[in-house]
Each structure stands twice: as C-alpha cells, then as structure tokens.
C-alpha cells in the first residue's frame, strides 16, 4: 500500500476517533464519574446496542491510528528490509490482536456472557 494512502487512513481514523471519543467521555460525565463506573452501569452500556457499536468503532479507529503511529516512530528509529517488514506486519498483527481482544469484551458483555 502506498504511504500516502496509509497516511490518509491515519488522518481519517484520527478525525473519526476525536468525534466518537468525545461522545464516550461525555457519557461518563452524564452522571457522577464514580457511579458511571459501577458494575451494573458499565454492563448496561454494553447492553445498549448503539453504544456498544460506537465502542467497537472507537476500538478499531484508535487501534489503527495508534499502531500506525507506533509503526511510523519505529520505522524512523531503525532501518533495514527485515526490520521494516517485521514492523509493518507486527503493527498489523498488534492492531488485529487488540481489536479482537476488545471486541471479545464488547461482544460477550453485550450478550450477557460472563
């Protein structure tokens, strides 16, 4: 993939994440912060489908943006074909693992499996 396309994705995920994370934080502030973290309240968030979907989108956007940012920093620190290939594929793998792990929480908590 061309670097310009990757960076357009980087910018796009950033803008999307800014909007959705703002909603996520505002939801925490809709009640007393410590109350919003109570077990039943958090579980209720996962059971509310639109909110769960939003969390899933945030998870994807931030994972892609974050690990691409890390990839950029690591590519600048050291060079070499093998190292760069490892960083590129490693970043994709890290993104996939984080998304899978976060999705598992959203999915299982949303379906009431625990």
């Amino acid at each position: 993939m061309r670097e310009s396309i990757i960076m357009k994705i980087h910018y796009g995920t950033a803008l999307g994440a800014v909007a959705l994370v703002a909603v996520h934080i505002l939801m925490r502030l809709s009640q007393k912060f410590s109350d919003s973290l109570q077990y039943q309240n958090v579980l209720a968030n996962y059971h509310f489908l639109p909110y769960a979907l939003m969390l899933e989108v945030i998870l994807v956007l931030l994972s892609v943006h974050g690990f691409n940012g890390l990839r950029v920093i690591l590519l600048e620190l050291k060079q070499g074909a093998t190292y760069e290939r490892a960083i590129n594929y490693g970043s994709i793998a890290a993104m996939a693992i984080l998304i899978a792990y976060g999705s598992r929480t959203i999915l299982m908590a949303g379906m009431g499996i625990s």
Partner: protein, 144 residues
Amino acid sequence: MAERVANREGIKGMANPTRYGLERVAYWLQRISGLGLLAYLIGHIYETSTILNGKIAWNNMLSLTETPGGHLVLVLVIGMCVFHTGNGIRLMISEGGKGVGKPGQPEYPYRASSLNSKQRLCIWVSIALAALAMMYGAGVLFGD
C-alpha cells in the same frame, strides 16, 4: 560504531525538544502524548475486559484504578488526549499545505513564513486547552 561513523544524533537528538523553537517542542509533545495514549488504550482495553469475570473482578480492578494515583494518570491522559487532538488537527491542516504561508522572495533576516504566528498560536492554544481540560478532569475525579 556504525552510528558513530554516520554521526547521527540518534534518539537523544530526535527526542531533544530544545534548540529549535516551539514547533520542535510541539513535535516532541505530539510523540510523547501519542505513545502515552497508545499505552493507555492497551491498558484501558485490558482493564475493561475484567468485567467479563464478574462483579468481584470488576470491583477489584476499580480498587486499583480508582485511587489518587489512578486519577492522576487519568488527568495526564486527559491532557495528552486534548493536546494530541489540538496539535494533530493543526498538523493535518498544515500538512495539506494550508496555513504555512505563501512562497515569496525571502528577505533578510529570513524568517521562515511556515513558522508563523498562527502556527505558534495553535500550539499555545492546544497546550492551554490541555491544561484547562486537566484542571476540569482533576476537579471531576478528585471532587467525587
């Protein structure tokens, strides 16, 4: 030895925010805050996953994070998040070629028009917003 011959400044030079003005400080802050936020994201995803282990596990996790230390970390995360967002938007606009001035005949003492007052203002506003958000966050978290 290879780096010695290449005479590159290395990580020390890259991570040194002094010497080249506010824009270099912003570059450094953007990197640090980005790394900090990624670390927080990973921690947050792990933290929230404990809800699958039931109420006791969740409350155990809360007893670790809902502490003055945990709140301090959250306040820092709020600051990093706001600065990274504000400065990131400035960078996105600038990297599209907007707000970096117009090419023209350079005149002594050759002040670079890309390092203009609008850019500096945006950096200061990002820092100020981050500070305000941290104060508000601290009020909410420690005021509970």
